[in-house]
Symmetry: C2
Subunit: 507 residues, 2 copies
């Protein structure tokens, strides 16, 4: 077998095992009977070990060496050169982490999870402290494996989720957001609030029907997708033809619909990756930030837009006449875009969401650098929530214990949520230049234009290019730029709240 | 690490991967969107290769050598000695088959499956012929890997499903059945037939509710089990705490309920295996025949018994009043035990089922020995159906193409179904000695007595012992004996049909 074919074969096996692992993870959160949990943890741990072993094998290194000339002989954007280039970078990074440390990290994460669940439920930060400490210590050891590769330690944490992104760059972006997004939140806080929605009921079966009608128009296809209920919505699957999205339902509101559109955005990205990248390390989204740009785009720029509701409001009214009695499309549109500083990140609106992320980003750097004793973490959290959102945290359940990430040692993950918001607006500005009639098509219930634009300019490339190269191809610039998102918020929320949310005059 | 612990660790990993594979197979038949099929085939093939590679590694062989003395030092029925003994046999057998041949067999089976589906649908045996030929040729090559290990080639095929069973032994058992079971079928054919059931409707939602009520009494526990609909019912899962059974539903009859009780029997066996055998090659049922004894026992000896229906008939009547109007428990009991020679194995009643198996067993040996040209297989099939059941086969869809097994090269599998029937009656005779009041407990809707008897005498041992050793512990004899099953048929059907179905007088 030629070295390239041999490399491809080995990578296809690793991809098969990773997909098996993804399906087991999906099953665990949607189907598995509760007592299956300890067995499932073992199965996933073993699969993780086998995947790591096979991917970091010296054979792969030897093939990559042999293929250096082959890579040079192929164009940069060819499948061949991209596979060798991306695999080399992944392989070199993976080989720097001893298998024992990796196993210890995944064991510590498994052990911490139930401790976090209990601590959150019982508002008991003290019981979470030891496992958090252990996870942080392991994360520091992990980061030290890459000594000298990065400008600062947090870079190594970020790079796992957003390849090539630097802490300094995120810091500059977030400083811009603090300067320009916070005033929007404050101006709205001082403005006339929107009317409170009435208490009401959206029967669950009708919610399911409605959201399927919507995501089928986005591109959900029963031949290649599933939608199931779960506790924490997520998107997963096994390649572009087996997409699994999950959501949840509440009787009293339509939050589940927005979760479904969000996960559908993730699903569409994976679904539209080029078939030639299948069963290779190139066959998935390029980074978490770019992925999140897709989920946030379909959830917010599409699903919370006025043209979207001009089409779907009559159907909403038909399915839930009592719940929206006295509403028209405009009033409903304003309601689903209401801004209200709140304690919980996953429930935050478009204007306050990034602020939740910024405080986590700052705290994570402090944690890595041990800038305060870990016992003080709740106070640090609560103080910053006050600084950014002017609200009081009543207890740690609604504060520092709310997110799962730190219990699994996932430092560096949070920033990708905010970066996704920013990228979604960059892509949107570029897309509307190519498709000036997009609003009219949404008003007709047509979404293929947007979907195909995303396929052509973004999705089909999968992981061939770095996030920055990918962004350059899709949005025309290689850098994440916060201005389009702030412009979007000013325009949309200014109109909803009847405010002039212009950029501050240069002083 | 000590050699035994090291062996155990390696086997636990293999078990984890096998369970991952089982969940992927379950998912494929219950959850996966249709376009996921090609990807799933790759994932399962890769997992199969990795499992085989890791199990047949020379390291395992070295550990088994090192542990020869250790095995001697432990009692035969200890976990330690059993793990070494059973693993050695599995390992030696697995190592005899070249990885390439194994891969070719699984590829040929994958390729043949859609060909068989189409051929069966379109009654087109000719199109199935080439893939059947390829599968048979591979099976012959597979069997030749064990040259000299067996008395006749079919022994090697059987041994994969029923460890240690010999063709000669099956032949003798089946000769007995031909002599003693066939006359029962013929006597019933000559007797007054039972009244035809009316055409009727059992609403599907109520069927689901009813069957869950029943299997929960058998031991189905929502914390550790799932029940899902599928096309061909099966039982699967990932260890004793994650049991997955599947069934199907027809509006016009309750066949689905019997399928559910059948699969529940398989599930109970796996569920009650001793916890100490978990994540080892000992942690599953000992053979397909013994497994089938459990499914047939719960389906037939329990679920088609009069005491069972004395308890459940009032509930049946409550749920489906129109469907069983004018019935009492006895009439319903007779109906669900009606004997009627038919074309399709999976729909066969207790009296004719084994005859379907015997003809397959005889044909399989002819196929391996190439006793007739493969083109003649349909005629051979049809001729024997006439010989055994006195019915004409109208087309190959209802004849030689009905079963999936040969398309996957699974020769030697069929006999285990009939052996399971026989074992179920052997166990039953022994059980009723220990639990003389079992009928009364069924009439009260109590099944723990039987379930706990099975746990203690059979289930908990898993695969520690050979099928024959297992049978000796549970039924008191080390051999499969067809007499109890024939006695059971004579007693039950004689009473239902008002016939004296005694053993033929010695001539």
């Amino acid at each position: 077998m030629k070295p390239f074919d041999e490399l491809r074969r080995r990578l296809a096996e690793v991809s098969d095992l990773a997909r098996a692992s993804a399906i087991l993870g999906w099953d665990q959160q949607t189907m598995m009977p509760p007592l299956g949990a300890p067995g499932r943890a073992e199965e996933l741990a073993t699969l993780g070990r086998v995947i790591h072993e096979r991917f970091t094998s010296p054979e792969i290194g030897r093939l990559l060496d042999e293929l250096a000339g082959f890579e040079q002989d192929h164009p940069y954007d060819s499948f061949e050169a991209s596979l060798v280039r991306v695999t080399r970078r992944d392989w070199e990074k993976a080989c720097k982490v001893p298998a024992d440390l990796r196993a210890e990290m995944s064991r510590a994460a498994s052990l911490a999870h139930p401790v976090w669940v209990r601590a959150r439920r019982e508002n008991d930060f003290a019981s979470f402290l030891p496992v958090l400490r252990a996870n942080l210590e392991l994360k520091r050891r992990y980061i030290s494996c890459f000594d000298g590769d990065y400008d600062e330690p947090y870079d190594a944490a970020l790079d796992d989720y957003e390849r090539g992104m630097k802490t300094a760059e995120v810091r500059a972006i977030f400083e811009y957001l603090k300067e320009h997004q916070s005033p929007i939140v404050h101006a709205i806080a001082d403005a006339e609030p929107l009317p409170e929605p009435p208490s009401r009921r959206f029967p669950l079966e009708l919610q399911k029907q409605f959201e399927l009608e919507i995501v089928r128009k986005f591109g959900f296809d029963d031949e290649a997708w599933r939608l199931d209920p779960t506790v924490h919505p997520f998107a997963s699957g096994a390649g572009s033809q087996d997409i699994r999205i999950t959501t949840r339902y509440f009787e009293g509101n339509l939050d589940g619909l927005f979760a479904t559109m969000h996960e559908c955005g993730h699903g569409l990205y994976e679904h539209q990756i080029g078939a030639e990248l299948d069963r290779s390390p190139l066959g998935r989204g390029t980074s978490l930030g770019v992925h999140e740009s897709q989920s946030r785009m379909w959830e917010n720029l599409v699903g919370r837009s006025l043209p979207f509701w001009r089409f779907f409001f009559p159907r909403l009214q038909e399915l839930f006449p009592d719940a929206v009695r006295g509403y028209d499309a405009e009033r409903w549109y304003r309601e689903v875009n209401a801004v209200e500083p709140s304690l919980i990140r996953v429930e935050a609106d478009e204007a306050t969401y990034n602020l939740h992320i910024i405080l986590r980003f700052e705290i994570e750097q402090d944690l890595l650098a041990e800038r305060f004793p870990l016992e003080q973490l709740p106070e640090e959290w609560n103080r910053r929530i006050w600084d950014y959102l002017r609200i009081e945290v009543p207890d740690d359940t609604h504060g520092v214990l709310q997110d799962v990430h730190w219990s699994g040692g996932s430092l560096g993950y949070f920033p990708t949520y905010a970066l996704g918001n920013l990228i979604s607006a960059q892509l949107w500005e570029r897309m509307t230049v190519d498709l000036p009639d997009i609003d009219e098509s949404f008003e007709q219930g047509e979404f293929e234009g947007l979907r195909e634009w995303l396929r052509e300019n973004l999705h089909r490339h999968g992981r061939k290019f770095t996030p920055s190269e990918t962004l350059e191809r899709a949005a025309g610039v290689p850098k994440i730029d916060p201005e389009p998102y702030v412009r979007y918020l000013r325009r949309k929320l200014g109109s909803i709240y009847g405010l002039r949310l212009d950029a501050p005059a240069p002083s």
